[in-house]
Amino acid sequence: MDQIQHPEPPEKGVSTTVPAPLRAIQERVYACIQCGTCTGSCPNAFAMDYTPRAMWRLVLMGEKETLFNSRTFLLCSACYYCTLRCPRGLPLTETMEELKQIAARENHPVHKKSVLFYRNFLESVRRHGRVREMEFMTLYFLSLKNPFTPLQFTPLGLRLMGKGKVGIQVPSKGQRRLEALFRKAEELEEQE
């Protein structure tokens, strides 16, 4: 396998001030001994700019900037291999999830697309209790506010339609049966 290219080596080493949300993340992985079991286990490591071990290293070093410029945690597919195999018993998958949350909250430009993707996905679920692919796509493309993006996906979309995987659907308000659930979740998030 090829050496994974790092975007930019961190400019400055250990920063002395660490913002609060990252602090909580650090505390979860302090006991890490950098053995690399997580990297070796991760099925998506090949696609990551920083391998999981390197990412935990960035977390421990307080490299917020580099960390949130990386897409590593977004590529976590929550297979739980690393959590299962970590000799220190660290909650790695959960912590990846939290990193996603922080990235979403902070509206980091690098992760804008991913965040919009998640949001629109959930919006569709909120409306119908399940995802409606075409509606979800439409919402997603609209939110990107870039008329050329849908064109990039046209060949794929056509192939999927040909196989009957996606059908034409008009976005609708839906029955919103899950509304209460979503609201409650939002309330809880706000309380935090």
Binding site: Q26, I33, Q34, G36, M61
Partner: protein, 1140 residues
């Protein structure tokens, strides 16, 4: 042999137990050495090779002085010593009483094979129909239900595996000596009463138990059961009682039975619904319960346990002055964890122990590296930290030895495969923290090409068709690698020995959080219970050298208690009755032949033998005796000896080693040198040739006896010289090690001179405040100094240094010089070097040019004095391995990682906002220190690993320091601003070479004391009578230094305990008239026993140091070097007799 009053109990006969027992026995105490296994030697009996020389060498632990009191063959086969009683298959039941007077009861498991009768012919295994996995070969091969636990042990009686034996009785039929008493008659004596209202249950139980050979009776109700119990003359041993019965129920029956027949064991039988009642029943005396319907697999073992207890009913009671626990450790079973790494599923994934067996000559493939499918093993990977350093497995510790055994196994595998083997070790930190470990590892990598890969594999997959194994791991830089291996070895870590908890509860001793025995602060061996000590790996896994040191230290502590309670008094005044000088007499040999109840000779055979041997003028008499091995036989024999007063004695019997102690006693009694007495084995020839004719057997017996006679006839009868001993010790160095050693010797009543060059005692303890565990060192220092200064047997020479010394074991003369030039000469019998060491000086990383760059020691001092204020610090960087672990100081100083962790945790505690970064190469948080490493990480201390080829740099800038280091995981340079940089420079010894050489000791390449044998004689110099401890020996912590000091003291005591030490019967001498002074023998002697005597211009042999190996004889060109007992003419005569 000097014998003393006291007795000690040593529990566990592994390497530590053997060391502790030998130490105590050599000092003169009686020792009972027990082990629950049916063999001695523990784990080491399975291991053939040990680093650093990849050989064994365990025999070097045997007594070097007064060798004749002990066996002198391979120690892995077993051993005996006059003062040691070895009880195998024995467990410790209870301990009562006070230190010095413990009342102990022991339980010895009965064996169905009588060890005194078993000759080891092996006919029984040929007929045994049962095959089970052989634990000796770690399950890699099969054995029978009757088997030899260790194939090479001496004595080596067969034992029967209770669990596997089907009681078919075939072995009993073929045993020629009737040693096996498996017969059903034995089990028939065990009487069982089955009480149940259901006929089906009663009948099936009766059938099942009768099949097992027991006597079974039945009752259908409680009333009937009581009638049977009271009506029977012989008691019932076991009652199986149902709970729910009409009329009297099971619980009532139990109550009534317990009232009237206390000796009857009761087991309840219950349906699932009444389990709670059964549990209640256990409170009023039931042993256990069985849930119906029960399987024979659960029923039979339970019954067998009760039966075993019945067999071993009589526990042994004895009084001991002290108890040493050397129970060893167990190993992690990878099959039990969450992640088994394919162990138990893929046949080519094995544990390190299994691999040791695989390459052993006595292993399943006779030492060839082949897999089960016959494929040669040519690519092997070791995975480290299996079951260690794993919080998920609740194993927040390092197992200490796995790194080194993996390197050793890799090297031996390479050697076995004639270098055509690829060995890789996947590790997290290579913990080469012991003496000489780092060089061994480097040589493995650089010279032998072992691949060291920093990485941790998470799983192993098997190629189904080839059986090869695929490992996937990520390297430091995040690159993923896959490697295909023929075999993968799991370097399994330690677990507490089975039964630790039960033993701890019984003795009321605390265990640490991981279940290992805990010792007191600053003592590796003392426990909260005075008089009970722990040695070896019982308190956590140790390599052989450390185990041996800790065992000797435990022996010392035990010895102290025994001595204090009056056990040090000799029960027999040495020396013994004058040895007769028979050198001017012609040989008059008494040949005593054991007839073994007529099994060896018939009448005509006796006549023929008598006629044959009496024709030899050297043979005075030939006597036939019945069973010399029994007490009666022996007294008949000794009567003949006393009556006829022969000057040579030869016994013809079986198992020669049985007679050693008895002959020694007889030798002392009648004054005939032990060298003139021997035993010839005349029984083995009978068994070796089962189908031989009577004539052939007679001839073989004749040859065996003829050889024995030839050897004795020519033995030089000159009495053995003895060496006078000045019973006084010199300790050089008054640090904690020197003081501990001095106190240990002085507490045994021998005077000690303690020489310290500084004005005050204490050494390094003056600047250390606390250990990482939080123990105060200053109170230790004050207490120890006070004890030393007040001790009537210790003379302290502070402000003195050793000016010169000469002499040998038993008699050294040392001149010590005071500051003002005044010289005092001290006479002493032994020397203990405790000259210590200091923190190494450095100029690296700008040390000396900036106040902000300090060493770990300077940090500790400045923190103590308040010159560094933690509150004022923002960022601290610690750099480990400064000038260490690379040439020329290529060794690990062992304590620096712990100091760094200690100081980092201290700073964090005082000021949590300090950013602390530790730059390390391999973090040596060995043993239970690992938990502090975890703690340090949890306290937000950042650890950055660096490579020796790419060291960090420190730049002094305005307003602070800038540390630059390459961060391997990000594979990027990192800069850290720091206001303090702390360097771990390691330890250098302060043992001047001239000082060591004055006593005849030598230094290793790093200036530390060179041991005679790093594993087996870890505190001895090659030259007898000189010992080292503390940092002079090797870098170590305070507690570890104390252990070496106690070990060195214990080793000295075995010399100090007598006014004169006799030479052993096999000792080399020089015929000066033939000697041309070529000095080849001096180089050849592996014990350093020879030197050139300048005063007399001749080669001199120290009879105490000579071990009778014969190397000098083979090296000598002129036949001037002669080994007593193996002289040329003697050996030629023996060969002649053998060829008769």
């Amino acid at each position: 042999m000097n014998r003393k009053n006291g007795k000690a109990l040593v529990v566990g006969a592994g390497i530590s137990g053997i060391r502790a027992a030998l130490d105590l026995a050599e000092f003169g105490y009686g020792v009972t050495l027990i082990d629950r296994a049916s063999h001695a030697g523990g784990l080491l009996s399975q291991l053939d090779y040990q680093f650093p020389n990849n050989h064994c060498g365990m025999c070097k632990m045997l007594p070097l002085i007064e060798r004749d009191t002990a066996s002198q063959y391979c120690l892995r086969k077993g051993f005996f010593h006059e003062n040691i009683q070895m009880l195998l298959s024995t467990e410790l039941l209870s301990v009562d009483g006070e230190p010095g007077h413990f009342q102990v009861s022991l339980k010895q498991k009965q064996n169905w094979v009588d060890p005194d009768l078993c000759m080891g012919c092996g006919l029984c295994t040929e007929v045994c129909p049962v095959e089970v996995p052989d634990a000796f070969n770690a399950g890699l091969s099969k054995r029978k239900a009757i088997y030899l636990p260790i194939p090479h042990a001496i004595p080596n009686p067969y034992v029967i595996d209770f669990a596997a034996c089907t009681l078919c009785g075939e072995c009993e039929k073929v045993c020629p000596t009737h040693a096996i008493r498996l017969s059903e008659q034995e089990r028939k004596k065990f009487r069982i009463l089955v009480v149940d209202d259901e006929l089906v249950v009663r009948d099936s139980l009766k059938e099942l138990l009768e099949e097992e050979g027991f006597f079974v009776n039945m009752a259908e109700s409680g009333t009937q059961a009581l009638e049977i119990l009271s009506g029977s003359e012989t008691p019932y041993h076991l009652m199986l009682a149902d709970i729910k019965m009409p009329g009297m129920d099971g619980v009532e029956l139990l109550q009534k039975t317990k009232e009237r027949f206390q000796d009857t064991t009761v087991i309840m039988m219950t349906a699932y619904a009444t389990v709670e009642t059964a549990v209640e029943a256990m409170k009023i005396g039931a042993l256990d319960y069985l849930i119906k319907p029960f399987e024979p697999d659960t029923l039979i073992p339970m019954i067998l346990r009760v039966y075993e207890d019945f067999e071993t009913a009589g526990a042994l009671q004895a009084e001991f002055g002290a108890i040493v626990l050397t129970g060893g450790t167990a190993y992690y079973d990878p099959g039990t964890g969450k992640n088994t790494l394919g162990y138990g599923v893929y046949p080519n994934v094995m544990t390190s122990i299994e691999f040791e067996r695989l390459f052993s000559g006595s292993g399943p493939s006779q030492g060839r590296l082949i897999r089960f499918d016959g494929k040669p093993i040519r690519k092997v990977a070791w995975l480290q930290c299996i079951g260690s350093r794993d919080i998920q497995l609740e194993a927040d510790f390092c197992s200490n030895i796995c790194c080194m055994y993996a390197v050793k196994e890799a090297l031996i595998a390479k050697e076995k495969a004639a270098d055509d083997l690829e060995a890789s070790i996947l590790y997290m930190d290579m913990r080469t923290f012991g003496k000489s470990f780092q060089r061994y590892r480097d040589e493995a990598e650089q010279v032998h090409g072992v691949r060291f890969i920093r990485g941790r594999a998470h799983s192993i997959t098997q190629d189904r068709s080839s059986g090869d194994l695929l490992i996937r791991y990520g390297d430091s830089g995040g690159k993923i690698h896959e490697m295909v291996q023929d075999a993968v070895i799991l370097s399994v870590g330690q677990r507490p020995a089975a039964g630790s908890r039960v033993l701890a509860d019984m003795l009321n001793l605390p265990l640490n959080p991981w279940g290992f025995f805990e010792s007191l602060p600053f003592s590796p061996t003392r426990t909260v219970r005075d008089g009970v000590f722990i040695g070896g790996s019982f308190s956590g896994l140790k390599d052989i050298s450390e185990s041996v040191i800790h065992a000797s230290a435990a022996a010392l502590s035990a010895s102290r208690i025994i001595h204090a309670s009056g056990g040090g008094l000799a029960i027999q005044a040495p020396p013994d009755s004058e040895t007769l000088d028979v050198s001017r007499e012609a040989p008059r040999l008494l040949l005593a032949l054991c007839t073994c109840d007529g099994a060896i000779f018939d009448e005509s055979g006796k006549r023929a033998l008598r006629a044959h041997f009496e024709s030899d003028p050297a043979v005075d008499r030939v006597e036939f005796l019945e069973q010399v091995c029994t007490a009666q036989g022996w007294s008949a024999f000794s009567e003949r000896v006393k009556k006829h007063r022969p000057n040579r004695v030869l016994i013809g019997a079986c198992l020669p080693y049985v007679y050693n102690a008895k002959l020694n006693a007889l030798s002392r009694e009648i004054g005939l040198s032990r060298a003139l007495m021997d035993v010839a084995d005349i029984r083995s020839p009978l068994f070796c040739a089962a189908d031989a004719s009577r004539e052939e057997v007679d001839a073989a017996v004749k040859r065996a006896l003829g050889m024995g006679i030839a050897k004795l006839k020519e033995t030089d009868p000159t009495p053995l010289p003895s060496t006078p001993v000045r019973q006084r010790a010199l300790v050089v160095g008054g640090g904690i090690a020197g003081m501990t050693a001095a106190l240990a010797v002085a507490d045994h009543g021998y005077p000690v001179d303690l020489v310290e060059q500084e004005a005050a005692l204490g050494g390094n303890l003056h600047w250390i405040r606390k250990t990482i565990e939080g123990n105060e060192t200053q109170s230790l220092l004050e207490e120890t100094v006070a004890r030393v200064e007040k001790h009537p047997n210790i003379q302290v020479y502070a402000g003195h240094h050793v000016a010169g010394a000469w002499g040998e074991v038993g008699q050294f003369f040392t001149s010590i010089e005071a500051g003002d030039g005044a010289v005092t000469t001290i006479e002493h019998g032994v020397t203990i070097l405790a000259t210590g060491g200091i923190e190494a000086k450095t100029k690296s990383y700008g040390h000396g040019t900036s106040e902000a760059v300090v060493t770990q020691k300077e940090l500790e001092e400045k923190l103590t004095e308040g010159r560094i204020e933690p509150a004022a610090l923002q960022s601290v960087v610690m750099i480990q391995c400064v000038d260490s672990r690379e040439e020329p100081r290529n060794y690990c100083s062992r304590v620096c990682c712990a100091s760094a962790l200690k100081h980092a945790l201290f700073l964090k505690e005082k000021n949590p906002s300090i950013k602390i970064t530790i730059l390390y190469r391999d973090l040596m948080a060995y043993g239970f220190l690992e938990s502090y490493y975890t703690r340090a990480r949890a306290a937000d201390i950042l650890f950055v690993q660096y490579d020796v080829k790419n060291k960090p740099s420190v730049v002094q800038e305005e307003g602070g320091l800038l540390v630059k280091v390459h961060e391997p995981i990000l594979d990027a340079p990192v800069e850290i601003e720091a206001d303090l940089v702390v360097l771990a420079t390691g330890i250098v010894p302060t043992l001047p070479e001239p000082l060591a050489e004055a006593f005849g000791a030598h230094l290793d390449p790093d200036g530390f004391f060179r041991e005679a044998e790093s594993k087996w004689r870890p505190v001895d110099a090659l030259k007898e009578g000189v010992f080292a401890c503390g940092i002079a020996h090797s870098p170590r912590s305070i507690t570890e230094s104390i252990a070496t000091a106690e070990a060195a003291a214990q080793r000295s005591l075995r010399i100090l305990n007598q006014q004169a030490l006799p030479a052993s019967k096999v000792t080399a001498v020089v015929r000066h008239s033939l000697c041309i002074l070529c000095e080849r023998c001096i180089d050849a002697c592996p014990y350093g026993a020879r030197d050139f005597d300048l005063d007399h211009t001749q080669i001199r042999v120290n009879p105490l140091m000579c071990q009778g190996c014969g190397s000098c004889v083979t090296a000598c060109l002129n036949g001037a070097s002669v080994l007593e007992g193996f002289e040329k003419q003697q050996m030629l005569d023996v060969i002649d007799a053998a060829l008769l």
